[in-house]
């Protein structure tokens, strides 16, 4: 056996200390196959070595949580024997290198995480971040990612019902593609990945294994530089047709009781799926690589173990059930092969051409993987209040804001996604939260993804809290009870102390908000090293939230429904302009601190609003977030195609009042008599409440004098995205 060289260790993304640890665990030198196995299993992507110690602090339990973090996806109980299974995961690095396939396989991967647990996927969301619009790569990346998501999801017949998109120069060299899948199962038919017991057949199903995606997990655990384009061969290629067959075949097999454990082959493919299953089951696993269905000739053991070919699953069956399972997979014209057996040796063993090519203690790939307490240093907080020009016209700023890259309508994107297939989409993209009915019932799930990265850079702690609070608020605004979240933590290089601080503080903020709002984290994913040539992204801990509406007919929507409704603001407006969209887009400043989130206030106001919706008393609600109060009024007017006339209350200055981004606020529109009662009840509960004005007409009017027509606002709001993609103008930036 040739000795592993320092060069090989570095090429595998391992440090010398890590290799020394491998030698201790093996009691000998590793061979090249074993080095490959360790490198993927100990990669940041698979091992969470920089974040694991901090992730443990997150709240993960609630009476309705069936399965928290650690499985392929989290599971919550939504009553009547129904379970909701969901997770969000990143596919950032591959999507930057090859946007169509990167995004497509991100969608495919997260769907497999959900259906491997026994759920039929019923909705997809995605949280996307791109570089600044004028960057020469941005259009190409937007176009490729959107067609990739659509190309995969549309073929699968799972509606893509919403998401979020931001543009910022910090993503110029590292876009973020975070895909979330939500599925439904029965609580007594949930499949886990623990391969308990020895002597059980290990079966491989799905596509054949090729040489694509080798070392994808390692690539996703490193920074980019000018040579990153050369990493294109490590991007996998998606085949949604095969995934559709795999979905149907797996669900058919799951209807029997032949399965002991099942897991998809995602990052680090056959290696991670088999090692993780053996680890969770407290067993060992022995694989015969000659039996692996292969797409290419002369594949080596190294290639087969590290391939990230898509649309593959590994299952452990009860002995003697192989023929029954094979029949199902043959019906769906998929490969099926018994490639190994579980053992009681606690070893991960791979054989190829009659020889043992890897023999590793299972726990050395999991529990004994390195965990780092990386040093972190707090950056100095933002000082002082940002200044702004008080003489600017509120109404002109409103029109301009609605047509900026971050605020413009995303219709250009979501019209490329089939959002109504499965016939249960109640609230399509563009609302506060997407709403999807539980098929055949009157229940519905509300789904949202949220984070404001611009808050997370100056204050990662408040930014983490805010991401959770906004997800909770968006679910509340449609009338849903928020139940649980999945977190997708996207950051730069954790080996830099300031970035590590962003990660640690972000996780603390998320944890604090989730505890206060009874909104546990049931799964997630970390994507670190989102840096190019040493420049990191804005900290972007995306939160995917799910809530339950017991009666979908009581759903509240954001669009105005009637003329002469009273527009009521719930919550206090202090006029926080720091890091606001207004300050960035109108004044050209990214300054100030993040808006503080008072979680007790957040909960009190949200519970009040949700109570009104649940009792059928209000049907028109919108949460306040990006852009502040006046933007929210305009969005409600545009959605309902009914104008509004509102006046300024409280603050002396109009700009912070109309565009400040204070938290814990909602707008409600209700007929006069009901509105009077709501205002009185809010006051009785010591909740700040303001009657701002009323709905009607075909314009947004402020303080009885400044006015802009809905058609002008609509042109600004709807116009930006298609014009940008058609290259009709280079967008103006400050």
């Amino acid at each position: 056996m040739t000795k592993i060289t320092a060069e090989q260790i570095r090429e595998h993304g391992l440090s010398d200390e890590e290799y020394a640890r491998i030698k201790t665990l093996l009691g000998r030198d590793a061979n090249l196959v074993e080095l490959g196995v360790f490198s993927v299993m100990w990669s940041e992507h698979c091992s969470y070595k920089s974040t694991r110690a901090h992730l443990k602090t997150l709240p993960t339990k609630a009476p309705w949580v069936i399965q928290g973090p650690g499985e392929n996806a989290g599971v919550i109980d939504i009553g009547d024997g129904d379970a909701c299974i969901f997770k969000m995961e990143s596919h950032n690095h591959p999507s930057f290198i090859e946007p169509y396939q990167g995004a497509a396989t991100g969608v495919g991967g997260i769907m497999r995480d959900v259906f491997t647990m026994g759920a039929r996927p019923i909705a997809m969301m995605n949280a996307l971040r791109f570089g600044e619009p004028e960057h020469p790569k941005t259009r190409h990346l937007v176009s490729g990612v959107v067609s990739g998501i659509g190309g995969y999801g549309n073929c699968m017949g799972v509606p893509t019902v919403g998401g979020e998109v931001n543009f910022h120069r910090s993503y110029n060299g590292n876009i973020l593609v975070n895909a979330m899948c939500v599925g439904l199962a029965r609580t007594d038919k949930i499949f886990l990945s623990a391969a308990k017991g020895a002597g059980n057949p290990v079966v491989y199903v799905g596509s054949k294994t090729g040489r694509d995606g080798i070392h994808g997990a390692t690539m996703a655990s490193a920074e980019f530089n000018e040579d990153s384009e050369e990493k294109r061969p490590t991007v996998q290629v998606g085949d949604p047709f095969t995934e559709k067959l795999l979905l149907e075949a797996c669900l058919e097999l799951m209807a029997t009781d032949a399965i002991i454990a099942i897991q998809d082959m995602g990052a680090a493919g056959l290696t991670s799926s088999s090692a993780e299953m053996a680890d969770k089951g407290g067993s060992g696993i022995e694989l015969d690589l000659d039996k692996v269905p292969q797409r290419e000739e002369n594949m080596t053991a190294y290639e087969m173990l590290l391939s990230e070919s898509q649309e593959r699953m590994l299952a452990v069956l009860k002995p003697g059930r192989e023929a029954e399972a094979e029949k199902i997979f043959r019906k769906w014209e998929l490969d099926f092969a018994v490639i190994g057996v579980t053992t009681n040796t606690n070893r991960f063993i791979a054989k190829h051409k009659g020889e043992i090519v890897a023999d590793i203690p299972v726990t050395s790939l999991s529990d004994e993987a390195p965990v780092y307490q990386r040093p972190f240093v707090q950056r100095a907080p933002a000082a002082g209040q940002p200044t702004y020009d008080k003489s600017r016209s509120v109404i002109e700023s409103l029109t301009k804001l609605l047509g900026t890259p971050d605020m413009a309508s995303r219709r250009w994107i979501w019209e490329q996604y089939d959002h109504s297939v499965m016939n249960d989409t109640v609230e399509a993209p563009g609302g506060d939260a997407a709403v999807v009915r539980v098929h055949g019932t009157k229940k519905a799930l509300a789904i949202t993804t949220d984070v404001s990265p611009r808050y997370c850079r100056p204050d990662p702690f408040e930014g983490g809290k805010q991401a959770v609070a906004e997800a909770w608020r968006n679910l509340t605004a449609v009338g849903a009870t928020p139940l649980a979240v999945t977190d997708n933590l996207n950051y730069g290089n954790p080996q830099k102390p300031e970035i590590m601080w962003e990660i640690v503080a972000g996780i603390q903020g998320i944890g604090e908000a989730c505890r206060a709002l009874d909104f546990p984290v049931i799964g997630g994913n970390c994507s670190l090293y989102n840096e190019t040539n040493g420049e990191g992204i804005l900290p972007t801990p995306a939160i995917g939230g799910v809530g339950l509406l017991k009666d979908v007919s009581k759903l509240a929507r954001a669009g105005f429904r009637r003329e002469n409704d009273v527009i009521i603001l719930i919550g206090e407006t202090k006029g926080h302009l720091g890091q606001s969209i207004y300050l960035r887009e109108i004044e050209g400043k990214e300054e100030g601190g993040a808006p503080p989130v008072d979680l007790a206030t957040e909960k009190k106001h949200g519970d009040f609003v949700r109570g009104l919706i649940e009792r059928g008393r209000v049907d028109t609600v919108h949460d306040l977030s990006d852009g502040g109060l006046l933007v929210a009024v305009a969005e409600m007017a545009l959605k309902g195609n009914i104008g509004a006339s509102i006046g300024q209350a409280s603050l002396p200055d109009a700009i912070p009042f109309f565009f400040g981004e204070d938290q814990a606020r909602y707008l409600i529109a209700a007929p006069f008599a009901e509105a009077e009662k709501i205002v009185a009840e809010a006051r009785d509960a010591y909740i700040p409440v303001t009657e701002l004005g009323k709905t009607g007409g075909d314009a947004v009017i402020v303080n009885d004098k400044d006015k802009v027509t809905l058609s002008k606002l609509r042109a600004a709001h709807e116009g930006w995205f298609p014009r940008f993609m058609r290259r009709e103008e280079i967008p103006v930036t400050n």
Binding site: G157, K244, E333, Q416, S420, D424
Partner: protein, 220 residues
């Protein structure tokens, strides 16, 4: 009315079609696997939306070679009703049961949105419960719905009253804004928009119900 829905491996609107049919007829719909070479005894066969065999080749081209399509053609030849929605319409043109072809959308992108259609003919088993000239809103969700046929064929379709639905605001570049057509014997309808997605007010409207009510009245 007894109905069946054909299930190709990557059909994905098969459940939607069956749910709509079951709600409208109150009867169980038969699901027929693509490898079957015979159909159950039914009045209506639905070719649902989706991607049949992945449609990496021309949409519907492989589906036309399937065992079940021989049975569908025989059913149509006997005068049985066939409804092809979206991918089903593509399969019908590939199989020659309907004239013309469905090309890539003029905008080159998949498009999913509600579209307003004009019901051009109420003289058919599929549209008798609509008024001629009525406006209805169905969603479209396709990447290849750009209907093409030569002028002679188009003139004939128009002349024989076989253009059943026309887009009011053409989303895909279809010739003469055609959204749905009938065969010569008037027992086979293909359309790109999805009537089965508009049978429930909470999920987007009820304009599709009359299409199923028409079939129930005509075929029961």
């Amino acid at each position: 009315m007894k109905s069946a829905v054909i299930v190709f491996p990557a059909s994905n609107c098969d459940r939607d079609a069956a749910t709509a049919l079951e709600e409208m007829t109150g009867r169980k719909t038969e699901m027929v696997w693509h490898r079957e070479s015979t159909l159950p005894d039914v009045d209506l066969v639905v070719l649902p939306g989706g991607f049949s065999y992945g449609d990496y080749l021309r949409c519907g081209a492989m589906a036309n070679q399937s065992a079940v399509m021989k049975a569908v053609k025989a059913h149509a030849a006997r005068g049985g009703a066939v409804l092809g929605i979206c991918n089903g319409f593509q399969v019908l043109t590939e199989s020659g049961l309907l004239p013309g072809a469905l090309m890539r959308n003029a905008g080159l992108k998949f498009v999913c949105k509600p579209v307003t259609l004009r019901v051009e003919e109420s003289q058919s088993a599929f549209t008798r419960k609509y008024e001629k000239g009525q406006s209805v809103t169905f969603p479209v969700a396709h990447g290849e719905g750009n209907y093409y046929a030569d002028d002679e064929t188009l003139n004939r379709l128009e002349g024989e009253g076989r253009v059943m639905f026309r887009y009011q605001d053409n989303p895909n570049g279809s010739a003469r804004d055609i959204a749905g057509i009938l065969n010569e014997k008037r027992n086979v309808l293909g359309l790109m928009p999805h009537p089965e997605r508009v049978v429930d007010p909470i999920t987007g409207g009820t304009d599709g119900r009359a299409l199923f009510q028409s079939l129930i009245e005509a075929l029961s």
